[in-house]
Amino acid sequence: VTAHRFSAFSFVDRITSIGDSGIIQGTFRIPAHLDWFPQSLVAEAIGQLAAWYAMSHIDFAGRPVAALAGQTRYFSDGLPGELLSLEARIDSCDTDSVSYSGSACVDERLVLELKDCSGAMLPQEEFDDPRCLEQQFQLLKTIGAKESRLIQLPAILPLHLEADARGIVESDLIIPDQADFFHDHFPKKPVFPATLLMHALSSMLTEQINRSDRGSESSRPAITAIRRVKVRSWIAPGDRVRLRAEGLVPEAATKEIKLSARVGDKLVASAVAELATKAVALEGRR
């Protein structure tokens, strides 16, 4: 077990309740020493909570891997020092797959909502040590893990952003050969987390919006939801991933942007980002 185990990419500090009804609740304190906390990692925290439920349900013989996320809707930011209250509602769970929805709140404030997520359950032994996970599960259910274990956010930045007049934006993402998060994701088989991929795609899109839109912040579109995430293949350490966003045209107030990621010719993931100006997003939340 390395120093980064259950630290570098583990976003549940405590499991506060887990019941036969398929609802699991927990908490994660966003470390106060961070400058910010990406929404994709809030989604990761909910997914990890659902994964604890799913793994314990089958005695840690299998683990879910991110595959499908119907809708991830952003409501507000989780700020450094804040305590995220996490909840996952398991729709179905067996040795083949798990389906769930969930949410994250700070006090009464909704931060993020996940709907219609589903992942295939794969043999645990290929990824991790089942007994080690079981011990961590017991720890999370009882005294909880130490807060603020995460020292720094994963440094994932797309390179060489290219945009054209048709509204297509592309850039490369080089997956490092080694990174702290691979100690958690996963010890026996390092896989680039899908939530970090979504973070990279979102960062690329946001950067292009900021470059091209000189208006005020309230009139500038921002990502309000990521829908129809489908992860098709593993992304491994050292992979070069071509990120692409299509449909970034300046006209409409609400837009849908097609996101994709390829390694070589292989489509490894796709999603749709929903954009709205702050004013439209606030209207939609009322």
């Binding site: 499908l68 179905s92 067996d94 083949d96 797959s97 219609d116 589903s118 295939a120 489908k230 992860v231």
Partner: protein, 143 residues
């Protein structure tokens, strides 16, 4: 009518909505989805697409489809060891499979057939039948 009997009307009743759902999952046109197309060989489906398709069909048709249901049901009354040996479908397994996947043209059943290649046989009609079975199960359980 037994659980394994399906009328052309039943299949035709399911197919339009199923084709639409599958096209969304596979990112292709609804017209590309034909009853007899091989999901993997003709429509480029991957394993994640099967999970996506089943998930979407559950929502569209408001039924519960246990994951791995096709493979499990396709074994029929055969035990796992009667159905496959070392990852290869036995001859008894192959006959069972042909009966279960009666919609699949006979020439697509290769011999020897690896268990891992069984999903290559699946067609949209296979999934029509899956939905109809789920609807029947649901109707039975509410009676």
């Amino acid at each position: 009518m037994t659980q394994s009997d399906f009328t052309a009307e039943e299949i035709a009743g399911i197919f339009p909505k199923l084709a639409e759902t599958m096209a969304e999952a596979l990112g292709c046109e609804t017209e590309d989805i034909t009853l007899t197309a091989s999901l993997i060989d003709d429509l480029d489906a991957e394993s994640i697409d099967f999970l996506d398709i089943v998930f979407r069909l559950e929502k569209t048709f408001k039924v519960k489809i246990p994951r791995g249901k096709i493979l499990e049901d396709s074994r029929g009354s055969l035990s796992e060891s009667e159905f496959e040996q070392n990852g290869v479908v036995t001859s008894a397994g192959l006959e069972q499979l042909k009966a279960y996947l009666s919609e699949v043209p006979a020439e697509r059943f290769k011999s020897p057939l690896n268990v891992a290649d069984v999903p290559r046989l699946f067609t949209p009609e296979t999934f029509c039948k899956l939905v109809i079975r789920a609807q029947r199960d649901q109707a039975e359980s509410t009676q």
